[in-house]
Symmetry: C2
């Protein structure tokens, strides 16, 4: 008998009929003998409708009130789902983030989980009930104020609960069959990935793959929660995210090696934060122990792409110590996270250099405003802003032990007539910036060059879940 | 500077425009220097829509889950209202029933308040903010489960909070101008009542007047909370419910005299339950101290009517001790509250008697089923069920000291050709049962006979608030 945490997104519970369908699946899992904890998002468009209501009231609603408003959405879906499961003769109870013990910091709208104490959930499960938990929400430690976790919050709730409950697996139900080698809307021959390591999934998520958000994967990696990404519309297996990835032989040693060099700083809670309610008698999973016998996995996990970034070039920066640091201080002070950074070789005759970096296009205005304000003390001559770029990332733990991956990537792009504007690498990822209008061709060319194409066209719509 | 608790029903916050309008009124009160605590119901039809959703899932939703579902409604309205007030430059924060310290028993769907500990509300008010509190909801003492208070719950929340905060007045905003001498839809010449005592209002509410529910008035009377029933669509004064009523000279002595003899058993919490956060320096209101100088008030407060009852007659009950008690035990065990009871004089020759009682028509099936089941041990011959009755109640503290009120009532009805089927009285109320189709005529005749008609037709739509 296993303990399973299942997470259903808004599209899986969009209306009464969908809720009943999901309830059947949950009741089936419970009847099969497993303990089941379910994390649920708000129904379909509920969140958008609530945001629209707030915007009818005021363009700048206080974030504390916005969180109270939005958390109404999960209250509705979780209670309806509990009703639907109960009506099938399986006991079910729903719990708010607060009742589930999801404690967060006080950053309304983008709160971070600092502790999960799911004693009520454990008690409900021990009593034989299915526990339904509101995703996306928590409560502050001292003031009991309601918070929301921001984008991908429900996935993060599910993984955090699975960690705190020492669940055997966290199943993330979505409207796609799993994680694919590329976005099937761009590459119709993209294949579903059966297994992928935390590190590879982290790089895929950081590089634009939308099926799981970065923080959720970070959380899963930190607490070694096996995550199964699967479709709520079929019973087939999806993608299993564990220690053991595409290149299984390598997985045991790649962990903790700081592979995600260019990803955002880790945002998971400090070690020991989710130590409540250990399940007695269940041994810890040995890291990487399942790696044996999977030597023949392919080198590359997949090709991710990202169209949401922009590039800023700071022209003619004096090539003296401290000037580059000053640029990045100014940008960081504006609350902007940079992605790729390239400094051109200084032209010795002028003593000047160009510094380019990419950033989320949504932060473009903030960054250029801050840099313009500090032009006198930085001493550059001009700024160039370009939001017509695309980023392609090739991810795979296997590339560490296989020389020639970069060469193969660059020649595939060259053969397709695509110019590379910037390059950055980690141990298990190579990213290149291209023109935005060449990105789709680039993804297809690289996908083929690394023999990722399936023999048949799987033609599955590939989309992300909102929260 | 006063502390005012304001309660707005669902129709006052039905959409964004209404919420903004209410926010202006609240901000105005705050700017005028008063401390303001607001209790709000769910927007317009939200509750009905949520009930409809639940019914799409299952015909018998678990009551715990139903409460979680329904309380989403106030979360939405309270946060939007706080946003709207904030956008006017007045600080506002919203609080759930739990955050406001509304502790209830565990009777989901019809929970009773057992304590109110509004320390967070007091702190918000002390900090200069308007506190918006979700009506209709509370939380259980030991399990922190969400409960709802049932019909009229938001009014009760408002009065309970006003009592716990020692507020100067509890303003109940509704879509009518106040409490009327009769339903203006039936009696176009009905007048708004300026002042009415708790006892009179209690009898009016128990007799079918829908503007305030019984439990809310009971709560207000127990804790001596002045209640101002007024329209959210105008700035005029409405009806003030206090110790001092229609017949002011009598109000001081009628209190606590057990006047509401036929009303349901008191349901307010035990004394001392709402003792938190006393406002220092505010003297207790002397009971009845405002009574002086209001000697010339009319004898009668108004004429209430009720079309929601049915009558059951148990025919040929053996006229021996214990049989009547057995009937009422059986009915009470079925969860049915009786209203009026009449036992005909026993016919000495037969040793049999008929017992009639009225009850909510919605409980008719439960009562007849229970009585039929117990026919053998009660020993009656047949049951008669009649749901085509109407009840008219004349209410006024003045009738105690004015003989002849009954005679005037009965002759007014006789003159109008209306037959009286049952009669019951309390110290300040006379109720009669008539045929349902004669009830409107009866109300008009009695209203005129007691000189309650106004000189002009006020023609205000008279309606109740749902929760």
């Amino acid at each position: 008998m296993a303990l399973i945490v299942q997470k259903y997104g808004g599209s899986s519970v969009a209306d009464a009929a969908s809720i009943k369908r999901v309830a059947k699946r949950i009741a089936g899992a419970r009847r099969a003998g497993d303990d089941v904890v379910v994390v649920v998002s708000a129904m379909g468009d509920t969140t958008d409708e609530l945001i629209d209501l707030a915007n009818q009231i005021t363009p700048l609603p206080p974030s504390r009130e916005m969180d109270i408003l939005l958390t109404a959405g999960e209250r509705i879906s979780m209670s309806l789902l509990a009703m639907a499961i109960s009506s099938l003769g399986v006991e079910a109870q729903s719990f708010t983030g607060q009742q589930a013990g999801v404690i967060t910091d006080e950053a309304h709208g983008r709160a971070r989980i600092i502790d999960v104490s799911p004693s009520r959930i454990q008690a409900a499960v021990d009593a034989g009930a299915v526990a339904i938990v509101a995703g996306f929400q928590g409560v502050t430690q001292h003031t009991n104020d309601v918070t929301t976790l921001g984008r991908g919050g429900s996935d993060t709730t599910a993984v955090a609960l699975a960690a705190a409950l020492h669940a055997d697996v966290c199943e993330i139900y979505t409207d796609v069959d799993g994680v694919f080698t590329a976005d099937p809307r761009i590459v119709p021959t993209a294949r579903k990935i059966d297994r992928i390591s935390y590190d590879e999934m982290l790089e895929m998520a950081a590089s634009g793959a939308k099926v799981l958000v970065l923080r959720c994967v970070e959380y899963a990696r930190r607490y070694r929660v096996p995550v199964h990404v699967r479709s709520s519309f079929s019973t087939g297996t999806g993608t299993l995210v564990t220690d053991v990835g595409t290149d299984a032989a390598d997985a045991g040693t790649s962990l903790g090696a700081g592979a995600a060099a260019t990803a955002a700083a880790p945002t998971s809670p400090g070690a020991g934060a989710t130590t409540s309610s250990p399940r007695p008698g269940r041994p810890d999973r040995p890291d990487g122990a399942e790696g044996a016998g999977q030597m023949e996995q392919p080198i590359i996990s997949g090709v991710a792409h990202d169209r949401s970034e922009a590039k800023i070039t700071v022209v003619d920066v004096p090539d003296v110590p401290g000037k580059a640091a000053r640029i990045f201080q100014v940008v960081a002070a504006a609350g902007v996270n940079l992605d790729m950074i390239v400094q051109n070789v200084s032209a010795a005759s002028t003593g000047l250099t160009d510094i380019s970096f990419t950033l989320p296009a949504s932060d473009g205005a903030a960054a250029t405003t801050a840099l313009t304000e500090h032009q006198p003390d930085i001493g550059y001559t001009s700024l160039q802003y370009d939001d017509t770029i695309g980023k392609l990332s090739l991810v795979g733990a296997g590339m560490k032990s296989h020389p020639g991956v970069s060469a193969r990537l660059f020649s595939a792009l060259a053969d397709a007539g695509i110019n590379i504007e910037m390059i950055s690498t980690s141990e298990i990822r190579i990213s290149v910036v291209t023109r935005a209008d060449q990105l789709d061709d680039a993804v297809r060319a690289v996908h083929t060059a690394f023999e990722l194409d399936s023999e048949q066209d799987e033609a599955v719509v590939y989309g992300g879940t909102g929260r």
